[in-house]
Symmetry: C2
Subunit: 211 residues, 2 copies
C-alpha cells in the first residue's frame, strides 16, 4: 500500500495538487461561478477533460481534503479506549475533529476562513458541503455502532451522532451568522457539543430500565 510510489503515482499527485491550487486560487480571485473549467485546466496546462478524471465536478475540488478528515474521525472511533463509554468515545472524536478543523495542520487559518466564505457564498457548494456532512455522519454512526457492540443499537448511534453534529453545526452557523469571530464560533460549536454530550450522557441511566 505504501511502497515507494512510482512515477505514475507521483505525477498523478502532482497534477491533482496543481488542479487544487489553481482552482482555489482562481475561485478566490474571480469567484466560483466566474471561473470555468477551461481556465483551471489552462492554468495547470492539462486538457479540460482531464479535470474530470480527477474530480467529478467543479464543486468537488473545494472539498479535496474531506476524505482525510473523515478518515481521522473514523480512526478515533476505532481506537476506543478501555472503559470508555460510547458517548465518551463520540465526544472524543468530536473534540478531535473540532480541533483539527480550527487548528488543523493542512493550511492557514486564513485559507480555511476563505474557504468557509466561499462555501457560504455559493449555493452549489453549500449543497455539496451538506451532502458530505451527512455521508460522514452515516459513516461515523456506523463506526460507533460497530465499535460499541451491545451498547447501542444502530438507531441510537445515529441519533447520538446526528444530535451532536446537528447541534454543533447549527450553533456554529448561528454564531457565524451573527458576526462572531473565528474563535467565538469555535467556542459556540464546542458549547453545543458539550450541551449535547451532557444530554446524551444523562440518558444512559435510563437505558436499563424497562420501557
Amino acid at each position: 500500500m505504501s511502497d515507494p510510489p512510482g512515477l505514475r503515482e507521483r505525477k498523478k499527485i502532482r497534477t491533482r495538487n496543481a488542479l487544487i491550487d489553481a482552482s482555489l486560487r482562481l475561485f478566490d480571485e474571480k469567484g466560483f461561478d466566474e471561473t470555468t473549467i477551461a481556465e483551471i485546466a489552462a492554468a495547470v496546462d492539462v486538457s479540460p477533460r482531464t479535470f474530470f478524471s480527477y474530480f467529478t465536478s467543479k464543486e468537488d475540488v473545494v472539498f479535496y481534503d474531506n476524505e482525510a478528515r473523515v478518515a481521522e474521525a473514523l480512526d478515533v472511533i476505532a481506537s476506543r479506549r478501555p472503559g470508555e463509554t460510547a458517548i465518551d468515545l463520540l465526544a472524543r472524536a468530536a473534540r478531535h475533529t473540532v480541533d483539527r478543523d480550527f487548528h488543523g495542520p493542512e493550511r492557514s487559518p486564513e485559507s480555511a476562513a476563505r474557504r468557509e466564505r466561499l462555501i457560504e457564498s455559493v449555493p452549489a457548494l453549500q449543497a455539496r458541503a451538506l451532502r458530505l456532512l451527512f455521508d460522514t455522519q452515516r459513516r461515523v454512526a456506523r463506526a460507533l455502532y460497530e465499535a460499541c457492540p451491545g451498547e447501542l443499537d444502530p438507531v441510537e448511534a445515529a441519533a447520538a451522532v446526528g444530535a451532536l453534529v446537528g447541534a454543533a453545526r447549527l450553533a456554529a452557523m448561528t454564531s457565524h451568522d451573527s458576526g462572531a469571530s473565528w474563535e467565538e464560533t469555535r467556542a459556540a460549536a464546542q458549547r453545543a457539543i458539550d450541551i449535547t454530550i451532557s444530554g446524551l450522557a444523562s440518558l444512559r441511566s435510563r437505558e436499563d430500565e424497562p420501557g
Copy 2:
C-alpha cells in the same frame, strides 16, 4: 394579499400546478436525469424558458411544498402555550412536523414514498433537500429563540434545534437504509426525537448554576 385573485393570478397558479404535476409524473416515469426541461414544458404546453420563471432549477419542483411545511412549523413555534417550556414547545413542533410528513394531507402516502425514493436516488435532489433542511433549521431556531425571550440564547436555541433535527434525520436515514418500512422509519425518527428531547430537558436544571 388575499383579494379575489384575478385571472392573471389564477392562471399562474394553474400553470405552476401543471408544471409540478407534469414534472413529478415524468420524473416518476422516466427518472429525474432522463427528463428534460423541454419535455416538461412540452407536456404543459409552455415555453421551456417559462419553466425557469416558476422554478429556479429542475430540482426545485420536487420541493414545491417546502415553504408551506416550514410555515406550519413556524406557526406552531409562534403559538407557545402558557407555561410551556422552550424544549416542550420545540418537541410539540417536532411532533407536529413528523405527523404532517407521514400522515400529511397534501398527497397520498404512496406519492410521498415515491418522492422519498426519488430524492434518495438522485444526488442533486439529496443535496437540495439537505440545503432546505438547514435553512429551515435556522429559521426554526430563530423563531424558538424569539418565542422564548430570556429562556435561551441564540446558540442554545440552535443547538437544541440542530440536535433534534439532526438526530431525527439521521435516525430516519439509518432506519430506512436498513430496509425498514415507512412505519418503522417513522417510529425510529420518533424515538430519536424522544431521546433527544429527554436529553435536552434534563439539562435545564443545570442552566441556573454557575458555570
